[in-house]
C-alpha cells in the first residue's frame, strides 16, 4: 500500500480483490439526499461502510451518533429510516436501486413528535 516498493506489482489489497469478486454493475442509493454507490447484494450498512459512512442514527437520550455494531441483526444500533419506514436494521436490509435511507433521529418518529 503506502510502501509501493515493497511489492511492486501488487494491487492494493481489498476484500473484493481477495475473493476475486466480479460483481454486477453498481447502483445508487440515496443517503440523506446524497447518492451512495452500492454493489448488488450488499446490505445498506455495507454500502454506507464502503462509502466511509459509519453513523446514520442519533440516540434518543443523548443524541449520540451510532451505526452498525454487531453486523448481524442482534444489537439494533444500525437503525435508520428506509423508504420512509423507521427502525429498519440496515445490516439486514439489502440496498436496492433507489433505496432512500435517512438518518434516524431519536426514536425515528421525530416527524410525528412522539
Amino acid at each position: 500500500m503506502e510502501n509501493a516498493r515493497m511489492n511492486p506489482p501488487m494491487r492494493r489489497r481489498t476484500p473484493a480483490a481477495l475473493v476475486g469478486a466480479e460483481p454486477g454493475p453498481a447502483h445508487t442509493i440515496d443517503f440523506d439526499g446524497r447518492p451512495v454507490p452500492a454493489l448488488p447484494g450488499q446490505s445498506i450498512a455495507a454500502a454506507l461502510w464502503a462509502d466511509g459512512v459509519l453513523a446514520w442514527r442519533t440516540t434518543r437520550v443523548g443524541g449520540r451518533p451510532r451505526g452498525a455494531f454487531c453486523g448481524i441483526g442482534a444489537c439494533f444500533d444500525c437503525l435508520a429510516v428506509v423508504d420512509g419506514r423507521p427502525n429498519q436494521r440496515t445490516c439486514l436490509v439489502p440496498a436496492e436501486p433507489g433505496t432512500v435511507v435517512t438518518t434516524q433521529e431519536g426514536n425515528g418518529r421525530a416527524d410525528l413528535a412522539v
Binding site: 489489497r13 476484500p15 475473493v19 466480479e22 448488488p40 451518533p65
Partner: protein, 470 residues
C-alpha cells in the same frame, strides 16, 4: 386462529432444524440421509450461519474460500443439501426468524417465525421433533467510548467483510478475548486492513494446562497456527494480558488506549498506551443463543467461561421431550464440533445408532471447547476500566452510575431488579449486548439463562393476529 389473517402453515415434517449454520446444516442433511423429512429454517437468506457467512451472489465472488477455513466442508454440506432439496426431503426456509416454539399437543411442535428483515409476514412450521442450532452471539464488555461509531464487534467486522466485502476502517485494532480475535484479525489483514495490534486479555496459559486435550485436536492447533502465521506475515503484534480500556473520538473512533491487565483483568496503572486507529473490532467470546429453549424451561449448564448453555445428554437431547440441540447452543466450541453434534443429533432423532468414530470425535472436540472456555473466562477486575458515565446498556443509554445507584442505594441485588430500576437490558436488543455486564455489576455474579418471552421483536400487529396459545 382465524383463517383470514392467520400465518402460512407448513407441516408434516419429522424434524424442524432451527439455524442453517454448521450444526443445523449437518443435522438436516444427516437426518435426510437417514430418511427423515426436514424443514431447515434460518433467519438469513442463505445457509452457512455466521461461520460460513459468504458474499451475496450479486457480488460474484469467484474465491469465497479465501475468507474461510474449511470452505470445502461447507460446500460439501451445501451440495448434499441441494440434492435433498431436489428430492423434497429437505425444505430450506430462508428469511424465517423463529420467535417462539410451542408444543400444543403430543402431536409435535409448532415453530413460529416472522418472514424477512421487516418481519411483515408470519409462518408456522409443524414438526414431530425440533433441533435447536441457533448458534451464538458475541459477549461484549463495556468500556469508555465503546458506543462510538467505528467501534464494532469482532464478529460483526467479520460478518460485514464476509457478506458485504467491506471494512469499517483502514487501520483496525482488534481486541477482547477468545479465538475469534485471531480469526477476525487474520481475515481483516488479508482483506487489506492494517491491524496494528491484536489485544488479548488472557495470556493463553490456560491452554498449556491440558496438553492431553490439546494433543487430541491437532486440526485446531493447525488452524490457530494458520491465523498466527497470517498475522506474523502482515506484521501484526499480538499483545497478551492487555485490554482496550478506552476508545477516543467525538463522532467516530480516532484512537484507543490499551493497558496491561493483572491476572484478574484489572488494568495496571501507568501501563496505558495510545494507538491511533479508525476502527476497533472488539469481543469477549461467544454466548450460546438458547432462549427459544429456556423460555420453555429447558435445563441449562454453566460453561467454564461463565456462559449459560443448554444441558444435553450424550445424544444431544435437551431436558424437553422432542427437543434436541447441537453446536454452540450446547456450549461454544466452533464449527467442527457443531458439525459432529449436528450429525449425532440427527442419528438420535432418527433412532439410528451413533457411529462410534463420531462419538469419539465429539468427545475430543468438546473437551477442547471446555479448555478454551476456561482459558478465556473474563476476570472479575474488568470493571476497573469503567467510569461512572460509561454507558453499559447501549439501547437505553444507561451509565454505570445509574446501575451502581440501583445496587448501592436502592438495594437491587440481581440483574433483574437492576433492569427494572434502570431499564438496562429493556431496549431493542433485549440485553444481548449489556447482559453480562449488568449481571456482573449487579453483584449477582454469573449471568443466568436469559429470559425473553419473544426471541426477536415481533410487530404488535402480528401478535394481535394470533399469538400462540400458552
Amino acid at each position: 386462529m382465524s383463517a383470514a389473517s392467520g400465518p402460512a402453515e407448513r407441516g408434516g415434517y419429522d424434524l424442524a432444524v432451527i439455524g442453517a449454520g454448521p450444526a443445523g446444516l449437518a443435522a438436516a442433511v444427516a437426518a435426510a440421509d437417514l430418511g427423515l423429512r426436514c424443514a431447515l429454517l434460518d433467519a438469513g437468506p442463505r445457509t452457512g450461519g455466521q461461520y460460513y457467512r459468504h458474499p451475496a451472489p450479486g457480488l460474484g465472488a469467484t474465491r469465497p474460500d479465501r475468507l474461510h477455513h474449511g470452505w470445502s466442508v461447507y460446500t460439501g454440506l451445501a451440495d448434499r443439501l441441494a440434492a435433498h432439496r431436489r428430492t423434497g426431503r429437505v425444505d430450506l426456509l430462508g428469511g424465517h426468524q423463529v420467535w417462539a416454539l410451542e408444543r400444543p399437543a403430543d402431536t409435535g411442535w409448532a415453530v413460529h417465525a416472522t418472514l424477512g428483515p421487516a418481519a411483515d409476514e408470519r409462518a408456522t412450521v409443524r414438526a414431530a421433533a425440533v433441533l435447536l442450532a441457533t448458534g451464538a452471539y458475541e459477549r461484549q464488555l463495556p468500556f469508555p467510548g465503546w458506543t462510538l461509531p467505528g467501534v464494532v464487534t469482532a464478529g460483526g467486522a467479520q460478518a460485514m467483510l464476509k457478506a458485504g466485502l467491506v471494512l469499517p476502517g483502514r487501520r483496525i485494532v482488534v481486541a477482547g478475548s477468545g479465538p475469534l480475535l485471531l480469526a477476525a484479525a487474520s481475515s481483516l489483514v488479508t482483506a487489506g486492513a492494517e491491524v496494528p495490534e491484536v489485544v488479548e486479555a488472557t495470556g493463553y496459559l490456560g491452554y498449556a494446562r491440558r496438553p492431553d486435550v490439546l494433543a487430541a485436536v491437532p486440526a485446531k492447533l493447525v488452524e490457530g497456527a494458520g491465523h498466527g502465521a497470517a498475522l506474523l506475515r502482515h506484521g501484526v503484534r499480538l499483545r497478551r494480558r492487555s485490554a482496550v480500556v478506552e476508545a477516543h473520538g467525538t463522532d467516530r473512533v480516532t484512537a484507543v488506549t490499551v493497558a496491561r491487565l493483572d491476572a484478574d483483568w484489572r488494568p495496571v496503572p501507568g501501563t496505558e498506551r495510545r494507538i491511533a486507529c479508525d476502527a476497533l473490532a472488539v469481543g469477549h467470546g461467544l454466548l450460546p443463543q438458547i432462549e427459544l429453549a429456556t423460555e420453555l424451561g429447558a435445563a441449562t449448564r454453566t460453561t467454564p467461561d461463565g456462559a449459560v448453555a443448554l444441558a444435553v445428554d450424550a445424544r444431544l437431547r435437551t431436558t424437553l421431550p422432542g427437543l434436541w440441540a447441537a453446536g454452540e447452543t450446547c456450549g461454544v466450541g466452533g464449527a467442527d464440533l457443531a458439525i459432529a453434534e449436528g450429525e449425532l443429533a440427527a442419528h438420535a432423532v432418527a433412532g439410528a445408532p451413533a457411529p462410534t468414530a463420531l462419538l469419539r470425535r465429539r468427545a475430543r472436540l468438546r473437551a477442547f471447547a471446555e479448555l478454551m472456555a476456561a482459558a478465556h473466562r473474563p476476570g472479575p477486575g474488568w470493571t476497573g476500566w469503567l467510569r461512572p458515565d460509561t454507558d453499559v446498556c447501549r439501547c437505553e443509554e444507561v451509565p454505570v452510575a445509574r446501575i451502581t445507584e440501583a445496587v448501592e442505594e436502592l438495594g437491587a441485588g440481581d440483574a433483574r431488579t437492576v433492569k427494572l430500576l434502570t431499564r438496562a437490558g429493556m431496549g431493542w436488543c433485549q440485553g444481548r449486548m449489556c447482559g453480562p455486564a449488568v449481571a456482573c455489576l449487579s453483584g449477582a455474579g454469573e449471568s443466568r439463562a436469559d429470559s425473553r418471552p419473544l426471541s426477536c421483536p415481533v410487530p404488535l400487529s402480528q401478535l394481535a393476529a394470533g399469538p400462540p396459545a400458552s
